[in-house]
Amino acid sequence: MSKLSITIDGRTFVIETPPLRRITSEITVRVDGQPVSVLAPETGSPELLDWLIVDGRPYELVVDPNLRWIRSRYGLHQVEVRDLEATVARPASGDGRIKAPIPGLITRVLVSPGETVELGQPLMVLEAMKMENEIRAPRTGRVAQINVSPGQSVALGVVLAEVE
């Protein structure tokens, strides 16, 4: 048994599910107390859930690995999951570390460690896919560190700088 609060595109539902088994038979979940019949076939694909049938309506899905969104035929839906039975709450990360959003080449660094920067101020330029990407300060503060220098190639997710 699980009990979850799911907010999707701004609407919230409380969903209770029985223990899930790896079968293609139908299960019944409760949404805001009402029973809903669900068939969620095993796909054998790397995604754990790429389609299911809810009350006779089929949905093909792409699910974000971090479950921040789901894509259906209707578009991209913003999702928030709260486990109502979980005992530990994890705060949303919001620190001043800036990670490379794409692999590329640092072409210019515009600030130095210790400098004070304002929200939105350009910190460096990352060239990728023949485009220049300006990297800006996520907050007003002091540049705690700059981890890269011009000419350096960076991989996805590498911490480039930190503003504290």
Partner: protein, 493 residues
């Protein structure tokens, strides 16, 4: 006819060219680099040559040598890279290899954008007011003075290269310096030439182009127009033919102007003549793209003509084989460009390995792509992953098909701009066909999901959560400002 063609490109356009070559019984030689190995163009060619570096796609001398080595009698440059480089065309000509495109002389003429504007104006066709020269980053004062004389709003354009990299709309004099710096830099990155020139801006505008095809025997015909107004961060996203907002008289006028310009500049093979339509309904010629365009399939769907085949036949010296009277423009066609981009991260490119990749299908649909399930989407090149093209007898029918096709395109493993495309094709203004460039400035609401379906999707999210076994209270999307901005893809303000 050629026995062997070197396809000097990659990705979907290389696949596109190889398919036509094989339909014609022509051997193909494909190129790849380390990041390209899994692309479909490598699998479909008869031969393939590994490039020691991706930079060689732009290396004229290396490509001519490869063509010699593999016995290719002709080179198809695709679009981008060296497609419009007159020096490359000349190097091919000198090596006795046919360059599949306009002559190097025509390419040289077309490349000088300011001279072309002046020649076209001299021929009595309206062009935008523009700066008299192009300016290096070091010529800031001259550029500023030219801007003063031209007035605002104006457009900064890169002097080299046909793509939208480096194009900036400048609304106010105070924006000029910083935008020019960015544009110089972007143009240098994309084309190796930082020069910019200025054109008056039309606000709002519509961007139109006419496909023309010509042979070496004096035949030149047009294949109708395409609209390319719908853009995101200066890049076309959805194109269609015919342009839905034109009167028949405007359309005929546009076609005749394109043919006149084509004749004036000596265009052969496939060229595209680009125009801006202002709010008063006046056309202004802007430039010629002397190559196959990304959006050529919508013209193919309407005319039934294989444009790549036509390019090859004409390059081999054959006559066009059809006259203007033989060309029938049937129904309506639309194309959406599916890019590997992350909508949650400012539409930055989203490379990776494709897991699921299932096309939409059915009558009147076509998908052009280099990708398949298991293929790697490389980081090094442009993010165009697939083109979805829908045709029908009527515009409403084509739109219905495109909407369904976009909703059914099943891609996982990388992020795509499919949600953006869905919003565009669902927009009432797009359905009405009355849009102009202001369309790109307005927010696009997502589809209204019926409450029952929203509940079902919540159930899906719950099951996905449980199957993952994630302990994730309060996971939030990082759509809030992440400290990143893709400067060259900013919307005009």
């Amino acid at each position: 006819m050629f026995r062997t063609i070197l396809v000097a490109n990659r990705g979907e356009i290389a696949v596109r060219i190889i398919r036509t070559c094989r339909d014609m019984g022509i051997r193909t030689v494909a190129l790849y680099d380390d990041t390209d190995l899994s692309s479909l163009h490598v699998r479909l060619a008869n031969e393939c040559v590994r490039l020691s570096s991706g930079a060689l796609y732009c290396d004229a001398a290396a490509l001519v040598q490869i063509a010699r080595d593999c016995g290719a009698e002709a080179i198809h440059p695709g679009y981008g890279f060296l497609a419009e480089h007159d020096e490359f065309a000349r190097a091919c000509e000198e090596a006795g290899i046919v360059f599949i495109g306009p002559s190097s002389a025509a390419l040289a003429k077309v490349r000088d954008k300011i001279a072309v504007l002046e020649a076209v104006r001299a021929a009595g066709i309206a062009v935008p007011r523009h700066s008299p020269h192009a300016y290096h980053a070091s010529e800031w004062e001259a550029l500023r003075d030219a801007a003063e004389r031209l007035g605002y709003p104006l457009v900064l354009k890169s002097y080299s290269g046909g793509r939208s990299h480096g194009t900036r709309l400048v609304r106010e004099p105070t924006q000029l310096e910083s935008m020019a710096q960015h544009a110089h830099s972007a143009a240098l990155t994309a084309f190796g030439d930082d020069r910019l020139y200025l054109e008056e801006a039309f606000l709002p505008a519509r961007y139109l182009e006419v496909q023309i095809v010509g042979d070496r025997h004096g035949n030149l015909v047009h294949l109708g127009e395409r609209d390319g107004t719908i853009q995101h961060n200066h890049h076309k996203v959805v194109e269609e033919s015919p342009a839905p907002y034109l009167t028949e008289a405007q359309r005929e006028d546009l076609w005749q102007k394109a043919l006149a310009i084509g004749r004036l500049l000596g265009c052969t093979n496939t060229c595209t003549v680009e125009f801006v339509l202002d709010a008063q309904g006046r056309f202004y010629f802007t430039e010629v793209k002397a190559r196959i365009q990304v959006e050529h399939p919508i013209t193919e769907m309407r005319t039934g003509i294989d444009l790549v085949r036509t390019q090859i036949q004409v390059a081999a010296g054959e006559p066009l084989g059809f006259s203007q009277a033989d060309v029938t423009l049937r129904g309506c066609a639309m194309q959406a460009r599916v890019n590997a981009e992350d909508p949650w991260n400012h539409y930055l490119p989203s490379p990776g390995r494709l897991r699921r990749f299932r096309f939409p299908g059915g009558p009147g649909l076509r998908v052009d792509t280099y990708a398949y399930a298991g293929c790697d989407v490389p980081v090094r090149y442009d993010p165009l992953l697939a083109k979805v093209i829908a045709w029908d007898d009527t515009r409403a029918g084509a739109l219905g098909r495109l909407r369904r096709a976009v909703a059914d395109f099943a891609i996982s493993g990388v992020q795509t701009n499919l949600p953006l495309i869905q919003r565009i094709v669902d927009a009432p203004e797009f359905a009405a066909g009355t849009y102009d460039s202001d369309f790109n400035r307005r927010p696009l609401p997502g589809a209204e999901v019926p409450p029952e379906q929203l509940r079902d999707l919540a159930v899906a999210a719950a099951l996905a959560y449980i199957r993952r076994g994630i302990d994730a209270s309060g996971v939030l999307p990082d759509r809030a400002d992440s400290g990143w901005h893709r400067d060259s893809r900013r919307l005009p303000q």
